[in-house]
């Protein structure tokens, strides 16, 4: 409810939801148009690129939806009001997850529509696989967002930059714009444990061969199940430590 009121009247906040994804889409979209001149050598490149951009943004927004919303409560000095109310930390995290869904549905819709208008790109080319792909990216984004929030709780202002930066740490090994095969061996091994890499590899597989990427989805879903549970436990542990060290009352100072 709080976020509905907030976004309803804040043009900068509304703009921020669409500004960065829109810029990404414009810049990278036009790059793909330019590179399409070489499309005989790079089959399905445009489709890969724009589809990957939209899907990556879904992950990024789901991460930010949690971490930035949390920071807004920190900056407003409203956190203690919330944690002295009947709201539990689990309910708080779930509410941030809900806010992130609203943000990313908005962003994804705008990006998909613009990609269609500007580049004749249809995100639904990926087919029914799109749904589990998106769900897995959202859950991975949530896991990163929950961990980011836990770190900000624990380390305060110093850790605030993670609200924007931590998601990008996974980008090189998420195989967003290139396949895992181009990575060096140690990064290939790491990529195996990143749910997003299976999503993007699966997406490329669907676009190039039309085959439903069951193995990739199972890997991604299994990893996400472990990571989201781990993220919750990590948050819970940090919450306990923060209360023991008296740091909860110092956040935002």
């Amino acid at each position: 409810m709080r976020h509905i009121y907030l976004y309803r009247r804040s043009l900068p906040r509304l703009m921020e939801v669409v500004y960065w994804p829109l810029l990404d889409l414009l810049v990278w979209g036009f790059i793909t148009v330019y590179l399409a001149q070489y499309r005989e050598n790079l089959p399905g490149f445009i489709t890969f690129f724009i589809g990957a951009l939209i899907l990556w943004d879904i992950l990024f927004r789901s991460h930010q939806g949690i971490s930035v919303s949390f920071l807004e409560d920190v900056w407003a000095k409203n956190l203690l009001n919330l944690f002295t109310s009947p709201l539990s930390y689990a309910e708080y995290i779930f509410s941030l997850m809900l806010v992130s869904i609203v943000k990313l549905v908005t962003v994804a819709t705008i990006m998909a529509v613009l990609a269609w208008i500007l580049y004749s790109f249809n995100i639904f080319l990926i087919g029914i696989s799109l749904i589990p792909f998106v769900l897995n990216l959202v859950v991975m984004g949530w896991a990163i967002g929950i961990i980011t929030t836990a770190l900000i709780l624990r380390f305060g202002q110093e850790a605030e930059v993670l609200a924007w930066a931590l998601g990008f740490l996974f980008m090189p090994v998420s195989a967003v714009f290139y396949p895992v095969s181009v990575l060096p061996l140690f990064l290939k091994t790491l990529a195996r444990f990143v749910p997003a890499s299976h999503v993007f590899e699966g997406m490329r597989g669907v676009i190039s061969s039309g085959v439903f990427p069951l193995e990739q989805l199972l890997w991604s879903s299994g990893l996400n199940a472990v990571y989201i549970l781990g993220a919750f436990l990590f948050f819970r542990w940090n919450f306990i430590v923060v209360k023991r060290k008296g740091l909860l009352v110092r956040i935002g100072e």
């Binding site: 807004e72 023991r244 909860l248």
Partner: protein, 244 residues
């Protein structure tokens, strides 16, 4: 004698090597205003934070409504609330929206009616559509106090509630708190650096110094025990002895 609504036994909090609260025990009885005073760093705010469950005690027990705070916090907080000068409402919400959010969080019955009552009681009805960021500090304080009463709490923790209020509004707020306390039999733990206010408001006071209680009783009893004429002189005596 009634059972206490808040019973604190042997409460201690150690931060690294600093003992911020040292074996403090006290009770708050129904309908009582207990004043917590002491110099900066005496442990007042740390005690309030422990009573709210924001900081975990190193040792000691806290019972509120006869329930262990560690095990029954979710039940307890429904009937407890707090206000302080170092917390605020979200800047981009209006006064009324802020109260609506917290009314929902506390599952307040007859939300609209309750919000309307509080807006009138704290004289902020005319600014109900104003954004929090555009409020004066006095208006924000009144909004915080309105939020603190949104769930009709049985226990209220007020950490310097009238700081930032001009004398007129501060006086009206104190009068309002006293009448609410009387009508609803609310128990209040109250801290302030305004000693005159503490003398006026408190049924009993606890004087803290370096984390432990050095005096406890009715304001007049404490003043007499220090051979002073008012609480301010008692405060200055304690604070200056610490400094010398």
């Amino acid at each position: 004698m009634h059972e206490p609504v808040v019973a604190v036994e042997g409460l201690t909090k150690v931060f690294k090597s600093l003992k911020a609260v040292d074996n403090v025990s006290f009770s708050i009885f129904p309908g009582e205003i207990l004043g917590l005073l002491g110099p900066n760093g005496a442990g007042k705010t740390t005690i309030i934070h422990m009573l709210l469950g924001l900081t975990t005690p190193t040792s000691g027990d806290i019972q509120i409504f006869g329930l262990d705070l560690k095990k029954h916090r979710a039940d307890i907080v429904q009937d407890v609330n707090f206000s302080s000068s170092y917390v605020s409402m979200p800047n981009s919400l209006t006064v009324k929206e802020s109260l609506k959010v917290f009314a929902r969080l506390y599952k307040t019955k007859n939300r609209e009616k309750r919000i309307h009552e509080l807006l009138e009681a704290f004289e902020i009805a005319d600014i109900k559509d104003k954004l929090v960021r555009n409020l004066s500090s006095g208006q924000q304080t009144r909004l915080n106090l309105a939020k603190a009463l949104i769930n009709d709490p049985k226990v209220l923790f007020l950490d310097e509630p009238t700081a930032s209020l001009d004398p007129d509004i501060a006086d009206k707020t104190r009068t309002l708190l006293k009448s609410i306390k009387k009508e609803r039999n609310i128990s209040i733990l109250y801290t302030s650096h305004n000693m005159k206010e503490m003398e006026e408001m408190s049924d009993r006071i606890i004087f803290l110094h370096k984390g432990h209680i050095i005096a406890e009783g009715k304001p007049k009893e404490v003043i007499r025990s220090f051979s002073r004429t008012n609480l301010e002189e008692v405060f200055l005596k304690v604070a200056r002895e610490e400094g010398s």
